[in-house]
């Protein structure tokens, strides 16, 4: 789980943040509600976790609330990895 959180966080830092913002995001930091990731960009984040963990997340479960923190994203991934 920790490794998964690190992977997801690293991807978010690389793709959605600039260099000097790295220390501002943790596993619990709001992503969607803070505006770091907008609703359109959430599609590419969803695609990343699907590719990375070979899962398919149903649209009805990939809500802004479910994608709002690294922790909640990883909970969703784990649910679908069985």
């Amino acid at each position: 789980m920790d490794e998964m959180k690190k992977n997801v966080l690293e991807y978010i830092v690389d793709e959605y943040l600039d260099e000097d913002e790295e220390d501002e995001v943790s596993f619990d930091s709001p992503l969607i509600s803070s505006g770091i990731v907008d609703s359109f960009s959430m599609v590419s984040l969803k695609r990343f976790v699907e590719n990375k963990y070979s899962i398919k997340l149903p649209d009805e479960e990939a809500t802004p609330e479910a994608f709002d923190t690294v922790n909640s994203i990883c909970n969703l991934i784990n649910k679908h990895m069985g």
Partner: protein
């Protein structure tokens, strides 16, 4: 009683001078939008009335009175003047929905310069194209977004002033200036530019099928249309608390998120944080919002989150709802009536070029769910036959939505593109100049959208008449996306279309062929998506990419988007005799 009282009655005796009555306008007053929305409201005795209730992410809150609006817009006007900005210069506003966006917009107009608001999620390439087109002289931005400006500034010789209005001044780089209006000396008096009805005010960029985005130029007299439609369609009254959810990077956010409501002296709310349904409902509850102007995409997203969530909040302050951006589907209208105490969203139709609402559902009129409503009084509208370009007389027959030119908020030209402006008018002569076109009552301005009119005069939206993609209420040009796609190292050729989407109406889908040495893969698809997201914007990012061996083209080599779109939408592909056999 609604402000409009009777649509039939006001339509019969309509003239645009009614807007002056609504604003209690006196002859000789200064027609400057920046001053009308701040100084004038103070002068009428409402200096201490709340103008802006602002909330950001993380419990950040602030309230500003109309006197604050006056002083802080003066502050921006004075600062820009000291930086050498002159009337007519283009000043870009490139920031999130923070209070300084609103103050600076009014300040730019007070100075007589032209406000060029751009959506802060634009990537560096989208920004560059628009700044280069407008020969923009100054940009107001924040620490978060100045990085994109740094990447492109060397390619913009006209961009002389990079002004950062928020963040840590110690992190600025050479050539950048810091200005925090809240901590700067208060400017009690500023000599407002004496604009007249045709003085340029706002330059909004909008996408077309071909070529790069076009700058639609508006003038200070647009306020007549914006104020009157705000009064009659949004029905704002003195004690209302109003929320327009649009970003001022787009025209709704300026016409109805700044100009219309503040010209009337209305208290308005701004929420600058990411979208979640519960946050939005909380915002309405906490601020006792009474009039809410939003977008179908947001309404459908709220619908998806269900009725139960609505019930967790006290939304009884709401009394009037309206919507704009793309057609509002009947289900969303009916749903809103069910969950918001019988209030249905009133759909409105207009566009960047029209500057104000054109076809709308009015308070008090029977809403036919799924219909755009009827033309605003004083607007001569029709649908033109697709072939003959003559007005359609048969109810239900689809044609091009068109308007007789001459309404006050009509755009005056496309920036440096007179031929493109001319092409929007049916019946224009080849040498007609913009001023002749917009005043010629024999022409039709063609919106680019298709609709039908029923026997009772209600308009029903059908779709775009071109390849422009309407995603989440924003127009995205396929050419801009395709141009960026072929800059990706793996892509040889590309086509972009809109594909149907339950929430956003359309999302971008790209069809690509790959260069030798590259193979289709999920990782490549994600890489391409992020490439476009960062260069253009999240809106332009393809949500699906289809790899093809070759793209459908005409014999002259032009990619045929129409063919791809017809297949994607499950429609008849039509005449394909001109397609190349290669």
């Amino acid at each position: 009683m609604s402000n409009i009282e009777s649509y039939e009655k006001v339509s019969k005796d309509f003239n645009w001078d009614i807007a002056r009555d609504v604003l209690n306008w006196k002859d000789g007053e200064l027609l400057n939008i920046g001053a009308i929305c701040s100084d004038r409201i103070c002068a009428r005795g409402d200096a201490d009335k709340t103008a802006l209730i602002w909330e950001g992410f993380g419990d950040r809150k602030a309230e500003y009175t109309f006197n604050d609006l006056r002083i802080f817009s003066n502050g921006f006007a004075q600062f820009l003047k000291e930086q050498g900005i002159e009337p007519g210069d283009r000043v870009c506003i490139f920031m999130d929905k923070i209070p300084s966006l609103y103050f600076s917009f009014l300040g730019i107009l007070k100075l007589g310069a032209i406000a060029q608001p751009l959506f802060s999620a634009f990537g560096d390439e989208s920004l560059e194209v628009r700044l280069a087109s407008a020969n923009t002289k100054a940009i107001l931005t924040t620490r978060k977004h100045v990085r994109k400006v740094r990447k492109i500034k060397d390619k913009l010789p006209d961009l002389k002033n990079i002004i950062v209005v928020e963040g840590d001044p110690a992190k600025l780089k050479e050539g950048e200036v810091f200005f925090d209006v809240l901590s700067a000396p208060k400017i009690e008096k500023f000599d407002v530019f004496e604009s007249d009805s045709e003085s340029p005010s706002v330059l909004h960029y909008t996408s077309g099928t071909t070529g790069q985005p076009k700058g639609a130029l508006h003038v200070h007299s647009s306020i007549w249309g914006q104020a009157l439609t705000t009064s009659w369609v949004l029905d704002l009254k003195d004690d209302d608390v109003y929320w327009c959810t649009a970003d001022p990077g787009w025209v709704t956010g300026t016409s109805y998120g700044i100009i219309g409501p503040w010209a009337l002296g209305t208290t308005q709310c701004v929420l600058d944080s990411g979208f979640t349904s519960s946050r939005w409902y909380q915002f309405i509850q906490d601020n006792k919002i009474s009039v809410w102007y939003s977008a179908p995409t947001a309404i459908r997203a709220l619908m998806k989150d269900g009725n139960e969530l609505v019930g967790e909040f006290d939304l009884s302050s709401l009394r009037h709802l309206a919507s704009v951006g793309e057609p509002l589907n009947a289900e969303a209208v009916i749903w809103s009536g069910e969950v918001f105490n019988g209030l249905q969203f009133h759909d409105t139709f207009w566009q960047t070029e029209t500057g104000a609402m054109m076809i709308t559902n009015f308070p008090g009129m029977e809403i036919r769910p799924g219909s755009m409503g009827m033309p605003f009084p004083g607007i001569s509208a029709t649908v033109l036959d697709l072939e003959s370009h003559e007005p359609v007389t048969e109810p239900g027959k689809v044609g091009l939505i068109a308007f007789r030119p001459g309404w006050p908020s009509m755009f005056r030209r496309y920036w440096k593109q007179p031929d493109v402006y001319r092409s929007k008018f049916v019946g224009a002569t080849d040498d007609a100049m913009p001023d002749e076109l917009r005043m010629n009552p024999d022409l039709w301005y063609v919106s680019g959208d298709r609709a039908s009119i029923d026997k009772d005069g209600y308009y029903w939206f059908v779709g775009r008449d071109d390849d422009v993609i309407n995603t989440g209420g924003h127009l995205v040009g396929p050419f801009e996306i395709e141009s960026a796609l072929v800059e990706h190292e793996a892509i040889a050729e590309a086509a972009a279309i809109g594909k149907p989407d339950e929430v956003n109406m359309e999302v971008v889908k790209a069809f690509v062929t790959l260069k030798p040495g590259y193979e289709p893969s999920d990782d490549l698809e994600l890489d391409i998506m992020n490439f476009i997201r960062k260069r253009l914007s999240p809106l332009a990012m393809p949500q699906e990419i289809e790899y093809m061996d070759k793209l459908p083209k005409t014999r002259s080599g032009k990619i045929v988007r129409r063919y791809l779109k017809a297949i994607e939408w499950g429609e008849d592909v039509g005449d394909i005799s001109s397609l190349s056999d290669d």
